[in-house]
């Protein structure tokens, strides 16, 4: 289980980014997690909640977006999203393909800020979930 150390890394990256962007309070972290990232989502959620305690991120939510595997099919000459990561076959023509275009991500995509926002900001705060 390496999710705990990944949670530590995530918090570190997020705190740096928050400071860099002048964000005093972070309400949510948006993470893109590829199906090939090797990270168990539930374990990461759990670890995150533990790791943020006593840090400036305490109380923040972790919002995880699952990124499916996208491969390049040499036969179709197209990028294809796989419904399941394995087996790695083109879902259209069935050709085996190992050329992964997406699905390895473990990326802090965005931070959602907090309290000191203006009214105008608050109105546009819909983050879409």
């Amino acid at each position: 289980m390496h999710e705990l150390s990944i949670a530590h890394n995530l918090v570190e990256v997020a705190m740096e980014a928050a400071e860099h962007n002048g964000m005093k309070q972070v309400r949510a972290l948006h993470l893109r997690l590829g199906a090939l990232s090797g990270v168990v989502k539930e374990a990461l959620q759990f670890s995150f909640d533990v790791v943020i305690q006593g840090t400036p991120l305490e109380g923040a939510r972790l919002v995880i977006e699952d990124i499916p595997v996208k491969v390049h099919c040499a036969n179709c000459q197209e990028a294809r999203v796989l419904p399941e990561p394995f087996p790695m076959r083109c879902p259209v023509c069935g050709t085996k393909t190992g050329e992964v275009l997406e699905g390895r991500e473990m990326e802090l995509y965005a931070l959602e800020g907090g309290e000191e926002d203006t009214e105008a900001d608050r109105k546009s705060s819909d983050c879409g979930d």
Partner: protein
């Protein structure tokens, strides 16, 4: 802490787009550059505990050691046992004890290399902590990641641990001398590997009988030779 003046309220949603493991990845990239400049070909060996990493590595170090300068780093939660086994090959070996950490990280590699003259090393083998899950996420600056399975592990093992197989460059099936005794189904195993990493080169070997070891050594030497060739223009 640097204070940043706000112009108009605090930002609501800020796009960050940063790799969570960027620290490890940046360090791994630096290591890879150092290895490249020094001409060190680096192999990261991953497997479950007991697949035979140390046995194979001892053999490889002994045989390559006759013609090359070889070195190894070996990761375990505790004990120096594996390093002591590997040292019997005559190679320079350092143990990395991780405590409770279930994988090696680039920072551990950098720290443990201190004092070694990389220019004098041709091959560096990194024996990762026995674990088929966590080491998948950590780049160590290697040129090649080798995933090992023994024939006793069952044909569906690659499908059970697809992420690490998918991150590997080559697969080695060990203890092939036991294949018959344990009813190892070669075809199924190869298919399973190909389902999760289409086209992955597969080597079968047994250190005990010597079967397939020559081929493995030849592969390492060929990879090293093409690495040396590719290093020349980069360094000039």
């Amino acid at each position: 802490m640097k204070k940043i003046q706000k112009l108009t309220g605090s930002p609501r949603i800020v796009e960050i787009r940063q790799n969570v493991l960027k620290k490890n990845d940046l360090l791994a990239r630096e290591l890879r550059k150092r290895f490249q400049n020094a001409g060190v070909y680096v192999v990261n060996m991953v497997s479950s505990p007991g697949a035979g990493k140390t046995t194979l590595l001892t053999e490889v170090l002994t045989r390559l050691g006759e013609r090359y300068n070889v070195a190894a780093l070996v990761g375990d939660l505790a004990t120096e046992n594996d390093a002591e086994r590997l040292r019997k090959s005559g190679a320079q070996v350092r143990q990395i004890t991780t405590g409770t950490v279930c994988h090696l990280e680039a920072e551990m590699i950098e720290r443990t290399l201190e004092g070694w003259e990389l220019e004098k090393i041709d091959f560096l083998f990194i024996e990762n902590v026995g674990n088929l899950v966590c080491p998948a996420s950590y780049d160590l600056g290697e040129n090649q990641r080798v995933v090992l399975f023994s024939v006793t592990e069952g044909e569906d093992k690659p499908v059970k641990y697809p992420t690490i197989v998918n991150s590997a460059d080559v697969a080695v099936i060990t203890k092939i001398d036991l294949a018959e005794a344990v009813g190892f189904q070669r075809k199924l195993f190869r298919e399973a590997l190909n389902d999760v990493r289409p086209g992955i080169p597969i080597f079968e070997l047994s250190v005990r009988t010597g079967e397939g070891v020559d081929e493995w050594i030849a592969r390492l030497e060929a990879e090293k030779a093409s690495f040396d060739k590719s290093s020349i223009p980069a360094g000039s």
